[in-house]
């Protein structure tokens, strides 16, 4: 007998090979599906989806979270980018949408999408994180939830659009203008005040997300991109920019996105998201099957710039080892870190601690709570912990 391959591998099997056709997988024996104009994930990945919750009567208000523990790399695919909306996703006709720039400017101007599309473009791979991401970690009891539910309000994409400063220059900014009120075209008319320095800095009026036009849930047809700043300020469905002397004191910069401290006063205008990291694998729902070598992998980011170091601990912060950082490490983008780890089968507590190029080091949860108390709600960037039980089960713990 003459059996394919086996001879080369140095061992010949006795059984007759495929006398009546080949023994191969069913999908090798009939043509597959034809082409489609716009592709979708495999039906076997249906479980990889955003999870969301909303208040009664308000199906479009709330947040949909990225399944961080099911993803790899640094880019978030557009279908899974996190979403925070205050009155649902508007169905905007791009031909009818307008952007008005007015207030303290020499020439109030109106732009259509078509007009903006002719401007010089820039791309920036940037993370966006909701100011309320990881809010549950301010609570006194560790919530039994996974990385998606706890930390899934952060995503990363390549955003392309027009530098906002180009448009503001065209309008002629008055020197008395210190803030820009940005307003969205959704039913909530979500609005926030942005300091002029950021608006004239790296801010974009973004039109594209990972190459294609921005997704409706992320601001179609245009959104403000303020790299590194809290998500809420990066106003989606952007319709209006009003240059003003003082902040507009909108509901979202007073009633929300302010950090209430134990003394009853609240921190306001917390713009940049601070240095942070999260282990995505292993993590809850990704239990360890048996002792052996695993890769600890996760994401790190900082609103201040580049990540320069991520350390990983498997003993709850007593000892640390430096993780490998995936290239390219980009300013204000997610950075993937990875480190091999041999699990001996005993209980362990996994933590990661990021450092950014400004030298900011991610604080422990205790240090953060000592500063801010347990009711700050927003801008949690403390070290998170996954407990590994002897059974291999991974859960959220405080350590």
């Amino acid at each position: 007998a003459f059996i394919a391959g086996a001879a080369i591998a140095g061992a010949v099997a006795a059984e007759p090979a495929r006398a009546e056709g080949l023994a191969v997988e069913p999908w090798m024996t009939a043509p597959g599906s034809p082409f489609t104009g716009y592709g979708q994930p495999s039906r076997f990945e249906a479980g990889v989806a955003r999870v969301f919750a909303n208040p009664p009567n308000a199906p479009g208000s709330g947040a949909a979270r990225t399944p961080l523990h099911r993803l790899q790399g640094m880019v978030t695919p557009n279908g899974l980018h996190f979403e925070r909306s205050h009155s649902g996703v508007p169905d905007i006709d791009p031909d009818k949408h307008r952007l008005l720039i007015h207030g303290l400017v020499a020439r109030p101007l109106v732009f259509s999408l078509e007009t903006l599309s002719r401007y010089p473009m820039e791309s920036q791979i940037a993370f966006i994180e909701c100011g309320g991401n990881s809010a549950q970690l301010y609570q006194t009891e560790a919530l039994d939830a996974d990385a998606q539910r706890l930390h899934g309000l952060v995503s990363c994409a390549e955003w392309t659009g027009v530098r906002l400063s180009t448009l503001l220059d065209e309008a002629g900014v008055d020197p008395t203008a210190l803030w820009v009120l940005a307003e969205g075209g959704d039913a909530a008319g979500m609005s926030r005040s942005v300091p002029i320095a950021k608006a004239m800095g790296d801010a974009l009026v973004a039109l594209y997300q990972n190459g294609e036009r921005i997704r409706p849930s992320n601001g179609y047809p245009m959104r403000l991109l303020l790299p590194g700043y809290e998500g809420n300020m990066q106003v989606k469905w952007l319709r209006r920019l009003k240059l003003v002397e003082t902040p507009a004191m909108t509901r979202d910069e007073t009633a929300k996105y302010t950090l209430l401290r134990p003394d009853g006063s609240a921190l306001q205008f917390v713009f940049a998201m601070e240095v942070k990291s999260v282990i995505t694998q292993p993590s809850p729902e990704l239990s360890l099957k048996e002792p052996g070598l695993y890769e600890i992998s996760g994401l790190a980011w900082s609103g201040a710039g580049r990540i320069v170091k991520v350390e990983v601990s498997a003993d709850g912060g007593r000892s640390w080892a430096e993780a490998h950082l995936q290239q390219p490490i980009l300013s204000k983008a997610l950075t993937r870190f990875r480190l091999g780890w041999r699990w001996d089968g005993g209980p362990a507590v996994l933590q990661s601690r990021a450092t950014d190029e400004e030298g900011n080091v991610q604080p422990t949860r205790e240090a953060l709570l000592a500063r801010r108390g347990a009711r700050a709600l927003y801008h949690f960037n403390g070290i998170a912990s996954w407990g590994v039980a002897a059974s291999g089960r991974v859960t959220h713990v405080y350590a």
Partner: protein, 153 residues
Amino acid sequence: EGPGLGRSAAPSEIARFDISVGPDGVGLPPGSGTAREGRMVYEARCVACHGEKGEGKPNDRLVGGVGALAGQKPATKTVGSYWPYATTVFDYVRRAMPFDAPKSLRDEDVYAVTAYLLHLNGVIGEDATVDAATLPKIEMPNRNGFAPFAPGD
């Protein structure tokens, strides 16, 4: 440097676009209202979501907690206890409420229901007139409750 394709916006067009109200009252439209009038608006358009007299359920509580923000326990953050500017109530209600039909209220009614919420929180009297002149002058209980963030906070 761009191609300079922005189209000049006419003042009337700007007025149509500009729905925001600043803490100085810039943007407030003509009209006025009182809590007494606002109660009817509230009961017609708001009570189903925010409960009797703004007590909350199923949606956000709008009343109470004034003066009790300090401590470690969960705080009752409401229009009365937490919001630093009364103008924000007008701005937010006009643009976003009622949730199921935002921007459907007449400006008169927004003034009135704003007055009602302020009255429920003990900030103004039942017959105080709320309008473009008076609203920015109202001293909210938590007016000085906010500090700008600085690194290390």
